[in-house]
Symmetry: D2
Subunit: 366 residues, 4 copies
């Protein structure tokens, strides 16, 4: 895992800028014989696509993915899969002002300081448009998982928007696709709708918490001590734009628990070990237990807002900036499919790693 590449055996390298001709993912290490076509990948991209409702940016991008290599006659060949998405909505506009000013909360200033390059066209490489490539790669990972780990399901949803968290007693995954927020709680979805409408009118933005759950993950995935499953999930989530925190299972709340509360007791069920609870989030010692793998991450509010903020220019002059344009008031919404995609990539990667080093699980119980 280095720089623009993610993964050990299933390696995803994303490339491309917000306003360049195209962006994409070069995926190396995909198993051969996986049935996949562009429509299957497009399904996942369409979920992330901007401009679908009034709560996400009105930038219009079809985000049509093309498979340029690695698939032959409907199956992966085992060689690199190139997934390309052309940028079509490169609306010509006057960047003159923004080109000189650093947008607070954005990577403008750090990219400039490091690279001496200011790609003012929508943030260039640091734009969240890069996550489209991740979703495409995640679609490929899901296709491979369907073959290698049937029954494994990955579902993401939002559990908090700004100050408003869902009511866990109402959590119903069937609701996730029924609203604009991937909200598993219909009542809270309405609260969010009203809240976000107000926020959008005021030109402000807000953060969110996303949860991704993977069911049917085989026990035994992950490896000590820096290739732990939770280590890679944490890296995967933290690498998503605007993410500032990552939790596994109990997360931050584990700090307040006693050992007698936190350790999930083990009993023997008809199909193997069962657990009295899942504080661990499905991972012990970096290795999956077979329980649900539970990942949560916090997304900060979009930094592009209509409220004027103080900043400086490249030449060091103090000034103010208002970021007009097409921005999501809550980028957390579109981070949901991205989180799912990253989890899919990590799980496939660890499944291949486990198969490579170990073959099949070696320790039987009972």
């Amino acid at each position: 895992m280095s720089m623009n590449t993610f993964g050990h055996l299933f390696r995803v390298t994303t490339w491309g800028e917000s306003h360049g001709p195209a962006l994409g993912a070069t995926v190396d290490g995909c198993p051969p014989g996986v049935a996949v076509d562009e429509a299957m990948l497009q399904h996942w991209l369409d979920r992330r696509k901007p401009g679908q409702n009034r709560y996400t940016t009105q930038r219009r991008e079809p985000d049509a993915v093309r498979i340029l290599s690695g698939v032959f006659e409907g199956q992966t060949t085992g060689t690199p899969v190139q997934l390309m998405i052309e940028n079509t909505d490169q609306r010509s506009k006057d960047y003159g002002d923004i080109a000189e000013k650093f947008r607070p909360g954005h990577a403008d200033i750090t990219y400039w300081q490091k690279y001496g390059i200011r790609d003012y066209r929508g943030g260039g490489r640091s734009s969240a448009r890069e996550t489209a490539a991740r979703v495409a790669a995640g679609g490929l990972a899901r296709a491979a998982l369907a073959a290698l780990a049937p029954g494994l399901e990955i579902t993401g949803y939002m559990v908090q928007m700004g100050p408003h968290a869902i009511d866990r007693s109402r959590l119903d995954l069937a609701q996730v696709g029924e609203n604009a927020f991937w909200c598993p709680d219909a009542e809270t979805a309405e609260t969010w709708a009203n809240y976000l409408d107000d926020l959008r009118k005021s030109g402000d933005s807000v953060g969110a918490v996303i949860e991704v759950v993977a069911r049917g993950v085989p026990a035994g995935l992950g490896a000590p001590v820096y290739g732990k499953l939770d280590t890679d999930l944490a890296a995967a989530a933290m690498s998503i734009n605007a993410v500032k925190a990552v939790e596994i299972g109990e997360g931050m709340a584990a700090a307040a628990l006693r050992g007698s509360e936190n350790a999930d007791e083990i009993t023997m069920g008809p199909n193997g070990p069962e657990y009295s609870s899942n504080h661990a989030g499905g991972i012990l010692g970096g290795i999956s237990t077979g329980q649900d793998v539970v990942l949560r991450f916090a997304v900060k509010p979009t930094s592009s807002i209509l409220t004027p903020r103080r900043t400086i220019t490249k030449s060091g002059e103090e000034t103010e900036i208002v970021t007009k344009g097409r921005h999501d008031p809550c980028v957390g919404i579109r981070a949901v499919p991205v989180g799912e995609a990253m989890v899919a990539c990590v799980l496939l990667d660890h499944l291949l790693l486990h198969r490579g080093q170990v073959g099949e699980n070696r320790g039987k119980i009972g």
Copy 2:
């Protein structure tokens, strides 16, 4: 970064088990000419050493580190540095009972399921003893940072134990070394002492939150999009035993903020850009801003407790377990020097990566 290796250019591979003959770190990629000797590394190990007060495990290990390679006449040579710590307190005892039972909350069951091996001697590779090797490697990283980034300081401390958080208005780094808990708030340190005494008597344990702050980090460290500085810090922290959550800057709380609150405004100071606040935790777009880098992580309560817990045996029979022995009621205490060590390794690694790809910062301001 894969399996037991951490880092890109400064690569730390730890090895060894809790009760084997030795453990250590093989460090590849250390710059040459770094002044270092065993005493300098021992300084950091002594801070982590168990048995120093009544709040940590009474296992007696001198944790004496030996440098077996890569240092000649008091300087690193640029070749691999082998840091070895012999295990001396391998108290012979009857593991018979534990060897068959899986301790809840520990990696016993997952290691068994994956590898078919049950190293019952204190958890084997999954034991927190592995972190001694990290602290040794972190000492080497600090020595290199002293030469390459003078003024860079890394300080860890505990900010929450169980339900008791520090009062940030009393935070005073001078207090950190004055109590048994790395607590920067003298009053809270007393609360914790009483709390932990009670807890220990009841045979229970508790979680904690650790914060590590790096001051004087040059702007420009980190790289898009999977080699971000925060991505690697998140991975580094999550790879530490018992860690369940990682935060950068505002962390989980960012979810509840509005954009107008969260984006740190930029002004021009005498030595370059200054920021009105540090919600970002010193990192924008994965690259350091020059502000303090702020990392926090939550450690779950020790799973080894005296309260009987339900579990199963290798042969699948249900039973109960009480984990006697020498255990920390709050492993978070000893995680503080480990967190510091990981931050040192990550920062050195990114400093070398930056120098390799970019040389020096290319974008001047003002």
Copy 3:
């Protein structure tokens, strides 16, 4: 260096098949601020381009390279550079026969056995068309080297075709561009022309030896013991299609030498150490000496020939095959620019690695 990626800090991942829609190279880790445009890369691709004379395949491919990312306003940004070459001459033809038979000497049978996929369209991923992507990436490496190591020059040429080697006493690099074979010896070039004409008429093919020399390589590049400069050059050369042997400096002939003959004596020149000879090929202990780096590799004869050869089908039946089509009688010719490209990539990579770990050369002489 793993699978379809080459390099440590300057990482080139090639993708694409012979008859897919496109192929290319995803280049991560290029330094920022390198002046480059499509025309500069096209220059190198044109040297490799097929169909330029009667000695290379008549497949007509413009091999036009597009830069899809990582370059902004004429400079690299430090983010991934995507180089894409569309396949235009995908002549529709009846592959029916070839699709069932394995061509001897080709990867048809091994790809089938491993992956269970038979991309019969010109060899798919195993086709030498993949090397076009390497040449594009090599062009980018050259552009970066021009900035980072001015004076460094990389020149490849052919030193043997079939039984006919050049006469080293006539070696003249000015001749390299004056004939169809990159031959540095005008007289031998004529011999080769006649020899190859005969060979082509007989429907046969022949092997070759290519030499690549890099002048002006700074001392100090390379690292023990698996990241040696010669280790990476050997890997780079051996990864080129049809290569069966790699030599550094004296190469195989070193086996017949005595120590008193082989060790290059060192004297002190006005600008530093000088050597009485260069048996070492510019590399000692895996690290460059500052002398010319000399790499040679042998390319086997094209396996696609008109002479009928025995083979089997996927269903295991014995049969014969004649490989018609557009093939190079001596693929070694087109391997020359590929060898240069690989050397450029390796040298840039090691230059960045050296800068990352060491900074500047630390040991002064005199």
Copy 4:
């Protein structure tokens, strides 16, 4: 594969210097459940051990290997295996003279230029003593291969010493252990004995060619296009001290062949494909065919000789040097077990990689 680490899934990191306290190999990624103990590894080290006859250095090292981690109750656990060899014969001597002079043909000058460190004690990290660690790791790889690929056999032998090559018509592997040179041809072994006696008396040294053959390698190992089996074998061989050339199958001689001679014809045997010849050395398109994998490499003559050679000092003064001490007149002899060890590591690594990405061979024939 980077710096001091070799391999993708089976990763060997060697560490240690010629005259430091110890050296060794940190092996990560070994499959669990491999039966191994110190005696099994010692067997291979004893074959490489110096001082066994009058043709190798008289340095007396027991080269006793200790397993410090990763093995429990006689089986690998799947966690890092630390193999340590203590240096015992660190004969104290006056290095004063050598400490200032660079030995021609050695890495003294390049290590100095790069790192600014001169470990004059026998070459430090660049000493061939490092290969003891490789042999230990190779022993572990062999133990794993015995379980995963029963029937796979790796045999190395010398085929040329100085000007004297073996007579292939007399090649008899049963002879390999019967002489001091791993020579598979009894008659040539005698020639070498006389030749080397003369050479030793004259204080000179000579080069050699080693061949390593792996029988019973399953078809399907290796991966395009930079993770080819021959790419990794070339890197493995070239990384061995003093190696200047690597050949696969026909090697350099392939350059002189015609396509009609070189392509191995395929027929159908009772157990699958058979080949009329093995010019390919068991590898097509970077993937094993199931035939013998044939690797050859040339070792240059020892640079430490009694003949005075011109050189310079650190301060740039011209001088002469005679390298006294305990040196092998033909280091090629001891390179034989090293070559075998590297082949074992590469094959195991690719076996795990294949299992990880592909599982089992997917394409059936017949």
